[in-house]
C-alpha cells in the first residue's frame, strides 16, 4: 500500500459499500448507497424514520441478504449471507434493543462467551472454570473490572448500561473490522453514555471502524469524524469535521431546494381574524420524568404544528392529551374545565381525538373494510338497541371516501388493499364523523404520498376553520409549515420556539432545532 497524504483516509476502507440498494415489493428503500468507512474512524449515520437506516444496518448485519451492489471488507468483496457470516467477516452490530443480545437465565460469564458457545466450536462440555476464564479475558478487552462474583451472577441482575457493556465486550472480543452501534445511548443516562464514549475512543485507537447511528446531534458532534445522512434511501450528505449542522438537518428533514420548488407550492396558511379562544391549556406538564415542565395553550380555530426530532416528546404529548399514557406531571384544562383523561375513551367523549403515529399498530383493524374501520370509534351512533345499522355505516364510509378523496374500489374494500396515504385518510376520516373539539395528528404524513398529504392537510385546516383546535406533530419541518398557523419547536420535552406566520419562517425553525440539540 502506498503511503497516503497526511489527513486523507487510508486507501483501503475497513468496510466499503458500492451501489448498495434494496427494495421491498417494488418500493425502493435503499438507492445505490456508496460509503467507505476507514479503519479507526467513527462515521455517524443520520436519518429520519423510514429513511433506510435500519435497512442498511440489516444488510450490514447479514439479515437482509437480497440486496444489490457490493460490500467489501478490507477491499475484498464479500457476501453477508447470514448474521453469522457477517460476524465472521468482522462486522458486529449492537442493536438498539439491548435485550435482543442477552440470553436471560444464563450467568454474566456465559453471556460473555455466548457467541463462542453458539458457534459450537471447541469442547462441547462446558466447565464453569473455562467459561469464567474466557469471560475474564473478554471483559478485560473492554477494560471492565467485573469481579468473579459479578461474572457468576445471573445476567438479569445487571442494569441496562452494564448489559450494553456486556454486549459491546462480546462484540469486541471477536476483533471486528466494523462495529455498528444503533442508537446506543437511547437507554443510557448521561454518565453511562460518557462511559460508552470513552470506550468508543479506545476502539478508534485500536483501528476499529464504527458506524454510529443516532439522532442525538450532541453525541455525534463529540464523537464522529464524519457524518452521513440518509433520506428516502439516498445518501444525501457526507461531511467531514467541522460539521455544518444546518446543512445536515436540511438534508435529513427533506429541505432540499428541489423539493421547495416542486412540492411546496402552496402559500403558507394565514389564519384570518383574531386568535381563537384557548381550547386546551397545559400547565406544568412534564413529558419526561425529570425534565423541565412545559406550558402550552392550544387555540381553537387554528392549526398548531409541533416540530421536533425523534425523542423530543411529540408522541408523549399526543398520547398524554389523548389519555393513552398519562403525563409524568402537570395539569390540563379543556375549555376552562379540568381535563385529565384516564383512558382514550374519556378523551374521545370530551371531543379530543388522536390519529396515532403508527397507523398499522395503533389505528387500523386488519382485514376489516374501509367502512368498518371508519365507524369503529363511534359504533353507538350506527346502532339501535345494539343492532348495527349497516346501511348507515356504509353511507358514512362513502361520505368519508368522497370528502377525503380516498382512492378505493368502494367502502367494502379491506384496508390492506389501500395505499399508505389512503389508509391514513381512513384513519383521519374516522374522527370526522363527530366534529372534534381537538384533533391531534401524530406524524400524519409518514409514508403518505404528496396528494394524500395535501388532502389531509386541507381537511385539517377546514376543521380548524370550523372551530376545532388542530395539533399536528411531525419531525418534518416542511410538512408542518405547509399546514400550521403556528409552529412550536419541541426538544427534550421543552418548548424552544412558539411563533406565528412570518416569525415561524423555515430558517428560524431549523436554527432553533439545531441550537436546541
Amino acid at each position: 500500500m502506498s503511503p497516503t497524504e497526511s489527513g486523507a483516509p487510508p486507501a483501503v476502507p475497513a468496510v466499503g459499500l458500492t451501489d448498495v440498494s434494496m427494495a421491498f415489493g417494488g418500493k425502493t428503500v435503499l438507492a445505490s448507497v456508496t460509503l467507505d468507512i476507514a479503519p479507526g474512524s467513527v462515521v455517524a449515520l443520520l436519518g429520519a424514520n423510514g429513511a433506510g437506516k435500519s435497512t442498511l444496518i440489516k444488510i450490514l448485519s447479514g439479515v437482509h441478504t437480497d440486496h444489490g451492489g457490493e460490500v467489501r471488507v478490507d477491499g475484498t468483496p464479500v457476501a453477508l449471507a447470514s448474521p453469522l457470516a457477517a460476524r465472521q467477516l468482522g462486522i458486529q452490530t449492537v442493536h438498539q434493543r439491548i435485550g435482543e443480545g442477552i440470553v436471560p437465565g444464563l450467568t454474566v460469564a456465559e453471556n460473555l462467551v455466548f457467541e463462542e458457545l453458539a458457534q459450537q466450536r471447541g469442547n462441547p462440555f462446558l466447565s464453569g472454570r473455562t467459561t469464567l476464564a474466557r469471560a475474564r479475558e473478554i471483559q478485560a478487552g473492554l477494560g471492565l473490572a467485573w469481579s468473579d462474583a459479578v461474572l457468576r451472577q445471573d445476567v438479569g441482575e445487571l442494569g441496562i448500561s452494564d448489559r450494553q457493556l456486556l454486549i459491546l465486550a462480546r462484540a469486541l472480543a471477536t476483533r471486528p473490522r466494523l462495529l455498528v452501534l444503533d442508537e446506543p445511548t437511547s437507554a443510557l443516562s448521561a454518565a453511562e453514555a460518557q462511559r460508552l464514549f470513552s470506550l468508543i475512543e479506545r476502539m478508534r485507537e485500536d483501528g476499529i471502524a464504527v458506524l454510529y447511528v443516532s439522532h442525538r446531534l450532541g453525541e455525534i458532534d463529540a464523537l464522529a469524524d464524519r457524518l452521513v445522512v440518509l433520506r428516502d434511501g439516498h445518501l444525501t450528505e457526507d461531511q467531514a469535521r467541522p460539521f455544518d449542522w444546518d446543512a445536515a438537518l436540511r438534508a435529513m428533514l427533506r429541505l432540499g431546494p428541489a423539493r421547495q420548488s416542486q412540492e411546496v407550492t402552496t402559500a403558507r396558511p394565514v389564519r384570518e381574524g383574531d386568535p381563537g379562544e384557548v381550547a386546551l391549556s397545559l400547565r406544568g406538564v412534564r413529558l419526561f420524568e425529570g425534565r423541565a415542565p412545559l406550558d402550552l395553550d392550544l387555540r381553537a380555530g387554528e392549526v398548531t404544528g409541533v416540530v421536533g426530532l425523534l425523542g423530543a416528546g411529540k408522541t408523549e404529548l399526543a398520547r398524554g392529551l389523548f389519555g393513552a399514557e398519562p403525563f409524568a406531571a402537570g395539569a390540563v384544562e379543556l375549555d376552562g374545565r379540568a381535563y385529565a383523561p384516564r383512558r382514550p375513551s374519556d378523551a374521545i367523549r370530551a371531543g379530543v381525538h388522536l390519529v396515532p403515529e403508527d397507523r398499522h399498530a395503533d389505528a387500523l383493524v386488519p382485514g376489516w373494510s374501509v367502512a368498518r374501520n371508519i365507524s369503529l370509534p363511534f359504533l353507538k351512533s350506527f346502532s339501535r338497541a345494539g343492532l348495527m345499522n349497516r346501511p348507515k355505516e356504509d353511507a358514512l364510509g362513502r361520505e368519508t371516501i368522497d370528502a377525503l378523496g380516498v382512492v378505493t374500489r368502494d367502502e367494502h374494500s379491506t384496508v390492506e388493499e389501500l395505499s399508505g396515504g389512503n389508509q391514513q385518510k381512513v384513519v383521519v376520516g374516522r374522527w370526522l364523523a363527530h366534529t372534534p373539539r381537538v384533533l391531534i395528528l401524530d406524524e400524519p404524513f409518514r409514508g403518505v404520498d404528496i396528494g394524500a398529504r395535501r388532502d389531509i392537510g386541507r381537511r385539517a385546516r377546514a376543521l380548524a376553520a370550523e372551530g376545532a383546535a388542530v395539533l399536528v406533530l411531525s419531525a418534518d419541518v416542511d410538512e408542518v409549515l405547509e399546514v400550521a398557523d403556528r409552529v412550536v419547536v419541541l426538544a427534550a420535552g421543552e418548548v424552544h420556539l412558539d411563533a406565528y406566520g412570518e416569525d415561524a419562517e423555515r430558517d428560524r425553525v431549523i436554527q432553533t432545532i439545531s441550537a436546541s440539540v
Binding site: P356, P377, G386, L387
Partner: protein, 348 residues
C-alpha cells in the same frame, strides 16, 4: 363426488386460464371444503345406512352434540377477543354438580337449580376475567388453571362423590330431594317432536350469531381480537369487553351443564371433562368454515353438526366407541390445516 366439486369453479373469462383455474379450485376448496365434507359424509351415511336416515337418529345426533356446541359458542366468543377458554368443560361439570346439589341435597325445585347453575357459570367466567384482564395472565394458562380449580372445588362441594337421588349423605340421613320432572325435560322433553336441548342449541346459536355478527358489542369483540391497541385508541374499554366475553362463555358453559345434568339425571363428578376438547375442536373447526380463518358462530354450529354426523355415522357403521377420539382429533387437525396452512398459502 369430484364432479360436484368442479361445478363450483367458474369456467369463463380467465386471463391466465391454467393458473387461475387452479387458484380458483384452491379458493373454493378452502371456502367450501368443510361444508362439502359435511354434506358428503351426510349423504354417504344416509345412503349406506337406512337407520341414519330416520329423523329420530338425526335429532338424536343434534341432541348429542348440543352440549359441545353450546360450550363451543362460548369458546368462539373468547376466541373472537383473541383469547381462549379452556375451562368450559369444567364449568359444565360444575353445573351438573350444582344442579344435583340444589335439587337432591337441598330439595329445591328445578327453577332454583337452573338459577344456581347459571350463577355458578357467571362466577366462573368472572374468575377467568379477573385472572386474564386484571392479573394479566395469558388466557390459555389462566383458564387451564381455573379448569383445575373448578374441577377441584366441585369435588369438595359434593364430598368427592356423585350425587344420586335417595343416596345416604355424610350425616347418615337420606338425601331428601330428586331431579324434578321439569328439570329432566331439558334434555329428554320434546316440543313438536324436537328435543328441548336441540331447541336450546338452535336458539343460542341464533342469539350468539346476532350478538357477534349484528350488534356493536360483537363488532367490538372482533376489533379487540384483531388489534387490541387500535381498539383501545378508538375508545374501546378493552378490558371490560374481554371480561364480558369470558362471563358469557361461563354462562353458556353452565347452560351446557344444565343439559348434561338433565341427560345424566344425577350429579356425576366426572361430567363435563370430555366436553372440553369437543367444544374447543368445534370452535376451531368453525374458524375454517367458509375459509374466513376467524371464529364465527355458524362455523361453530356447523362444526358441531359435522362432528355429530361423524360420530353417529361411525357408530351405526359399527366402529367401536373408543375410536371416536381418534376420529374427532383427525377432523380437528384437518380443520386446522384448512384454516392455517391452506388459507395462509392463499394470501401469500
Amino acid at each position: 363426488m369430484t364432479t360436484t366439486q368442479s361445478t363450483e369453479v367458474p369456467t369463463k373469462a380467465a386471463i391466465g386460464p391454467a393458473t387461475s383455474t387452479a387458484v380458483r379450485v384452491q379458493n373454493a376448496v378452502i371456502k367450501y371444503g368443510f361444508i362439502f365434507v359435511t354434506v358428503a359424509l351426510f349423504l354417504y351415511f344416509a345412503l349406506s345406512e337406512g337407520s341414519f336416515r330416520e329423523s329420530a337418529t338425526l335429532l338424536d345426533t343434534l341432541r348429542y352434540v348440543s352440549v359441545a356446541a353450546i360450550l363451543g359458542l362460548g369458546v368462539t366468543l373468547t376466541m373472537a377477543v383473541g383469547g381462549m377458554d379452556m375451562s368450559v368443560g369444567a364449568v359444565a361439570g360444575l353445573g351438573v354438580s350444582v344442579a344435583a346439589q340444589t335439587m337432591v341435597v337441598h330439595n329445591q325445585v328445578g327453577t332454583v337449580a337452573i338459577l344456581a347453575v347459571l350463577v355458578a357459570g357467571a362466577v366462573a367466567g368472572l374468575l377467568n376475567a379477573l385472572l386474564i384482564v386484571v392479573l394479566k395472565i395469558p388466557d390459555m394458562l389462566a383458564t387451564l388453571g381455573t379448569m383445575f380449580v373448578i374441577q377441584g372445588s366441585k369435588l369438595i362441594l359434593v364430598d368427592g362423590q356423585s350425587i344420586t337421588p335417595g343416596m345416604t349423605m355424610s350425616d347418615g340421613s337420606t338425601a331428601p330431594g330428586k331431579f324434578t320432572d321439569g328439570f329432566l325435560k331439558i334434555d329428554r322433553g320434546t316440543v313438536l317432536g324436537v328435543p328441548v336441548s336441540v331447541l336450546i342449541f338452535g336458539g343460542l346459536t341464533i342469539a350468539a350469531w346476532v350478538f357477534l355478527a349484528r350488534t356493536r358489542w360483537g363488532r367490538v369483540l372482533y376489533a379487540i381480537g384483531a388489534n387490541p391497541e387500535a381498539s383501545r385508541l378508538a375508545g374501546i374499554r378493552v378490558g371490560a369487553y374481554r371480561a364480558l366475553a369470558y362471563v358469557i362463555s361461563g354462562v353458556l358453559a353452565s347452560v351446557g351443564g344444565l343439559i348434561l345434568a338433565s341427560r345424566i339425571g344425577q350429579g356425576d363428578v366426572s361430567a363435563g371433562t370430555s366436553q372440553l376438547l369437543e367444544a374447543v375442536a368445534v370452535a376451531l373447526v368453525g374458524t375454517s368454515v367458509l375459509g374466513r380463518g376467524r371464529p364465527n358462530v355458524w362455523g361453530t354450529a356447523l362444526g358441531a353438526v359435522l362432528i355429530g354426523i361423524i360420530t353417529t355415522g361411525l357408530t351405526i357403521k359399527g366402529l367401536p366407541y373408543y375410536t371416536q377420539d381418534v376420529v374427532e382429533g383427525a377432523v380437528l387437525i384437518l380443520a386446522l390445516v384448512f384454516s392455517f396452512t391452506l388459507s395462509k398459502r392463499r394470501t401469500a
